[in-house]
Symmetry: C2
Subunit: 768 residues, 2 copies
């Protein structure tokens, strides 16, 4: 395994310039604050290989769907993640030479992502043909306290010479997407303005009329003092800049502070976004770089206080988990229920749309346990707000109820492979499961009354229409589906899908009983609003009672789908190493008819509905399916790891954990250059907290059942639970649970109840 970064607990460090792998470093060094994000691009010009990327949350482009053979029901458009105005740019001329690290001699280059403080630091020294050396140090951040603000300090020190320096902070709206056809541009200029102190550029998307204003203000100081400078305005199509020229003295450091505000008509009326941008950037300018940075660092301090995981005895693991937590928090802050967690976050263009079932199935538990519960709630509200679109989507397929899209930005389906779009319908149950998960964790039953029940009813209606009754077997079946394991398409009775569909119906019935009994008036309202019929409720019950579950009697395991056992039953160890990953080496038909599993499928069901299955059942299924799983999805190993932890396969659990923990830092899948695997980053957190520490909710109580991997000396993590902030520490001998915030709390450890006082702690033996 190649080591790209220096191992460090809090920092991601690139030492020396890596022109050939620049995109990998750019991806990993991405910054984001939920409102916007930028890859780890350079401020100055760079003619080497780079993927310039600036992304604004919720701003996308509806590209025309193009497929070989159109199928009825495909969406007409799919959402493209859109590269936006480059606002970090600073062109640098030293003694008339344009600084371009691909063309100039550079020494002592380093690029450091400081995860504790949330900024990117770059420093290097350039050496010109006359051996004149100039040191440059750049710090930038996207504010976590003022989400529309970015700031950069760009410091230049001519080490052994006096220099004529020009700096051009600019805004450049003339950007394109790498994945566009024929270099098509997606932005039109609306307005631009520039004067000696500031610049402003408003662009709008060619379709959907998203308007984005970037405003910038700058300052140049030498040791805190103003300097003599000449200013030239640069004002051309889609571009504004201020060329600031001055003479720099040997050994002195000159710092350009660039403040940027980014506003969109997603947040303000279109006619106000410029005035808002100006107000925000003026405010940032008044505060100054250091004040802004300190506010930003404080915000990160709070995040780390609530979500940090500490691992002792394994710095690589420590770095990996912190990187994942850092990126998840950069991608989604929960401040806006219209946003969600894209698979690449703000780190690349790949994958259209922002929302997959990844959110509910993999990311949701992380935010649920490490943030204010409103943040998880906003993720639920996001889907509630898309309920009408999900109903339209079901209607397009000729079905009742609501089918949530496989991929979406605004609630509409964005994907167009029939075997996924139309058939990977298990996603619907994940939406319902997140509601269940939220209510179980937070006890916020009000959510069910206000929003949750409607989603449960409409997803149930979908299932009730999508099943078919088989009179020959007196069972309900679900035909023609793709399960979580996408290496099977168009199968009948995928056990996971059938199980989760019946669970969805059952939970809807349970919630209905609760509302009916506890809130009869609200129930009547909801019944009327939803036009709930007694017959459909009877049908749901009938389906729950008569759902068909494929089962292999002789092995005592669930059958992944009808006919799975007819396959040639091999293990991954039977595949020659050079044929892995199979998706790069095998034809699609061979993958489909093989027994090999892309990602947790039956095992995903065992994880979600853990209470329903005993350890022996989990063990039998794990023993059968895990050796057949190639884990060619980044979402796979974490779920297997959690079940392995539960059934006592501690080494296996740790081995599987390692496969996700440093996926991007080690470029494990050889595609980090495209961007980071954001949605799977929660996987390593899940493997630790749900897996190693065995965290569950049992009888409404927080419950742990921890062990510690052999390779580690100690690990600890934070959990927010119903207003309590807990720190759980596990070492080889002792488990310690400390309450950092909150009143007395009763919880379970190894299935025994313990009570922790406010600010109290308990310790007991680690005995698994």
């Amino acid at each position: 395994m190649k080591q790209y970064f220096k191992i460090d607990e809090w920092n991601i460090i690139e030492e020396g310039l890596h022109p050939e792998e620049n995109r990998i470093y750019e991806s990993v060094m991405s910054l984001g604050n939920g409102h916007m994000g930028i890859r780890g691009n350079f401020e100055e010009d760079y003619s080497g290989d780079t993927l310039q990327g600036t992304y604004i949350a919720g701003v996308y482009y509806p590209d025309k769907t193009k497929v070989g053979w159109w199928k009825n029901g495909y969406p007409e458009y799919f959402a493209k993640v859109l590269n936006a105005t480059n606002f970090i740019g600073i062109k640098v001329l030293i003694n008339g030479v344009n600084i371009d690290l691909a063309k100039i001699k550079v020494k002592d280059f380093s690029r450091i992502l400081d995860m504790k403080n949330g900024y990117l630091l770059r420093s290097f020294t350039i050496v010109d043909s006359e051996n004149r050396e100039t040191k440059i140090e750049v710090k930038r951040f996207l504010s976590m306290s003022e989400l529309e603000i970015a700031a950069i300090s760009y410091s230049i020190t001519p080490l052994n010479h006096d220099a004529d320096i020009s700096l051009i902070p600019y805004l450049d709206g003339d950007v394109s997407n790498e994945d566009s056809n024929y270099n098509e541009k997606f932005w039109l200029e609306v307005n631009r303005a520039v004067d000696n102190e500031q610049g402003l550029l408003t662009m709008k998307t060619k379709k959907l009329d998203f308007h984005v204003t970037c405003a910038m203000k700058y300052d140049i100081k030498e040791n805190g003092n103003d300097i003599t400078k000449e200013i030239e305005l640069i004002d051309k199509e889609k571009y504004v800049g201020n060329k600031v020229s001055f003479t720099a003295s040997k050994g002195k450091t000159y710092t350009l502070y660039k403040y940027i505000s980014v506003t969109t008509n997603r947040d303000y009326d279109t006619e106000n976004i410029e005035s808002e941008a100006i107000k925000k950037v003026n405010n940032a300018y008044s505060k100054g770089f250091d004040v802004l940075l300190n506010e930003h660092i404080s915000a990160w301090e709070r995040i780390w206080k609530e979500s940090d995981v500490v691992i002792e005895g394994d710095v690589k693991a420590q770095q990996g988990i912190r990187f994942n937590i850092f990126q998840l928090n950069q991608t989604y802050t929960g401040h806006d229920p219209r946003l969600n967690i894209g698979p690449k976050g703000f780190t690349g263009e790949k994958y259209g749309g922002s929302t997959y079932w990844d959110t509910e199935a993999f990311c949701f538990p992380f935010y649920l346990s490490t943030s204010d519960q409103n943040i998880a709630r906003n993720l639920l509200i996001y889907r509630y707000n898309h309920l009408e679109k999900a109903k339209e989507n079901a209607r397009k397929l000729g079905l009742n109820g609501a089918l949530y899209p496989m991929v979406t930005m605004n609630g509409e389906e964005c994907h167009n492979e029939w075997e996924i779009t139309f058939e990977e319908i298990h996603r619907n149950a994940a939406i319902s499961y997140a509601i269940f998960n939220y209510v179980r964790y937070t006890d916020d039953k009000q959510y069910l009354l206000d929003y949750g029940f409607e989603v449960l009813v409409e997803t149930s209606r979908f299932w009730a229409d999508r099943v078919n009754y088989n009179p020959r077997k007196d069972k309900y079946m679900i035909l023609g589906v793709t399960g979580p394991n996408e290496y099977e398409n168009n199968v009948n009775n995928n056990w996971y899908t059938n199980t989760m569909a019946a669970w969805n119906l059952e939970y809807t019935l349970e919630v209905m009983e609760y509302i009916k009994n506890e809130h009869p008036a609200r129930f009547e309202e909801l019944k009327n609003k939803l036009k709930l019929q007694d017959e459909e409720i009877e049908k749901w019950k009938d389906i729950v009672n008569k759902m068909y579950y494929p089962y292999v009697e002789s092995l005592g395991i669930f059958e992944q789908q009808d006919g799975y056992m007819d396959k040639e039953l091999l293990n991954v160890s039977d595949i020659p190493k050079e044929e892995l990953p199979i998706n790069k080496h095998w034809s699609w038909d061979r993958i489909l008819r093989s027994c090999f599993i892309k990602q947790a499928d039956v095992i995903q069901g065992l994880y979600f509905l853990s209470d329903r299955f005993d350890l022996e059942t989990k063990k039998r299924n794990f023993d059968f399916y895990e050796p057949k799983t190639v884990h060619e999805s980044s979402l796979s190993p974490c779920i297997y790891s959690i079940i392995a932890s539960e059934i006592g396969y501690e080494e296996k659990a740790y081995e599987l954990y390692l496969r996700t923990a440093r996926l991007d830092l080690d470029n494990y899948n050889k595609d980090t250059d495209d961007g980071l695997h954001i949605t799977s980053m929660s996987g390593s957190w899940l493997a630790i907290v749900h897996g190693f520490a065995g965290m569950k909710i049992k009888d409404g109580m927080l419950s742990f059942s921890p062990f510690i991997p052999k390779a580690w000396n100690k690990y600890s993590f934070k959990i927010i639970f119903r207003g309590h902030l807990l720190k759980i520490t596990v070492d080889k001998e002792i488990i310690t649970i400390e309450q950092e915030e909150g009143n007395e709390l009763t919880l379970k450890i190894y299935d025994k109840e313990y009570t922790i006082e406010a600010n109290g702690k308990i310790t007991l033996e680690t005995n698994r």
Copy 2:
């Protein structure tokens, strides 16, 4: 049902101009001669809606494959049917006005396809603003005796005025495909030349370097006499023409004869195609129009003598079947084993590639029984010549042996939907079945020694590698396939596929035994060439013995595939009329999980392996599957019709026959504007000959078991069988079989043997 054409036994007649439906008429009026083809376009300019189409057999364009998500194993290129130099063009100016039927007043317009004589006749009178009337009559044909020659006579008669007339016969290589992106052009000019008497234009394709030369020569006569004329040469990029101007006297008829030769470097060395073209066109010119036309008509006479079907009492049916026979003979003449039968023939651009399994499964029996046996043999040789490519194709999928492509031009796969390309593998058995069919019919066992066995072995190797042994059931299975019914994708154990795969292996073993016993020396040669191993032969036997066939015990029917009986079992009559065809109204997933069948699947197997199944079995399966079949492929009703005939469902057989008989003439599928459904045209012939007349080979003997549909008074057809030319006539009372060519022949009628003398005939009672 709208009637587009006048009902006539031998002619397809359009009366009056139909600008809005011009493309439909153009498709139907297409001419072809196996070497080339043209849609029923006008010679003169036409600014109305038209699909200009000239196609040269075997000349295609490799377009880059574009799909949403690439799957390993997809072809990099797919073949596009290429529109070529427009060689029919004649620009007409009368008194300085360019004749364009979209812009000028026209009366008495008719366009007639004369199927007996194989030419297109157009006549009309134009009326100018000063009420000057000019009559035009155009006759054109693509010679069936000189395949590289086309000829046009273009006659003009100023009825009530003297006129200044200019005619410009031209060749125009500046053509494009309608389906190209951004009007991309696919041809480059290589050479052009024009003098007072002739013109020449050589174009080549941008890829693959197909060179095509068109040479033209012309003549203008008035009542057989030369006239005074002025000639102006037109010579511009990709275009040559002769502007011939003369003064025409009232009431006299002036005829331009345009002779065209079309040569390609598929047939000659590239450096010789121009000299060949010139030689050919000079020769045609010397013969003159009438001689050429007579030779052409004689060729058609022979075709009709061997393949005509006569229906009495139903002129619409008569016209329909003749149209189908006519178009099949225009598309494929068997003169070149590198050619095949494209789904649209020479009548449109739709569908890339020229060859589908349609050829072997549907067209082959037609050519086998209505042409010299070399023609059918050439269709087999076509596949033999692609054997190496088919082996490469199997290798791409990681499999042994040979997998013939789903769609091809040169042996390489042209299609890129995974569920078809990789999974619709039953096509392989159709290739073997055609060999069996040919040998059974012709008794030409030498073919097996020379070519057939190699194809049988390699297809068998494919099957042997593609099956998987299921130790739990001690059966071989074929997982992940698409059967002939493409409304099911990626199913396990499609009965048809399993049946035909086992049949393929069995036939290979049978042929092997024959060669081993009868031609031991040749067997040794073949064994060495093919590296035949005893173990693989044992494996084939084992697969034949242990193939798994899904079966529904309770109904005594074959199950279309595993799990079919788990579907909601409805009939087509349960679908609301407005939802038909379902492929236009239902989402793809709904189609897939429904029980509805696109085209004969189990029934196709009953047809191919008819001897193996008794009438009761056929009846049970027909009764179950037919009501579930939507026949949304033009290849479907004919096969059902044949089985219906066999099991005595005479009315049903006739009803199903009607669904294919006039598919294009009545524009039944609303897509005749794209071109004709060439490959399904054999379906109505099959329904009559294999169905109504019950023709089979039994114990090496030709066998009939005829009935006559109620709506008909009499029908007759011709059959070529092992050097015999037979005419079979069936009326309400009597069956007559006349031998027109050949010696004494013993055949079976209603399972009793009869012998016919040379030039003899037998008659017996129609008693079914």
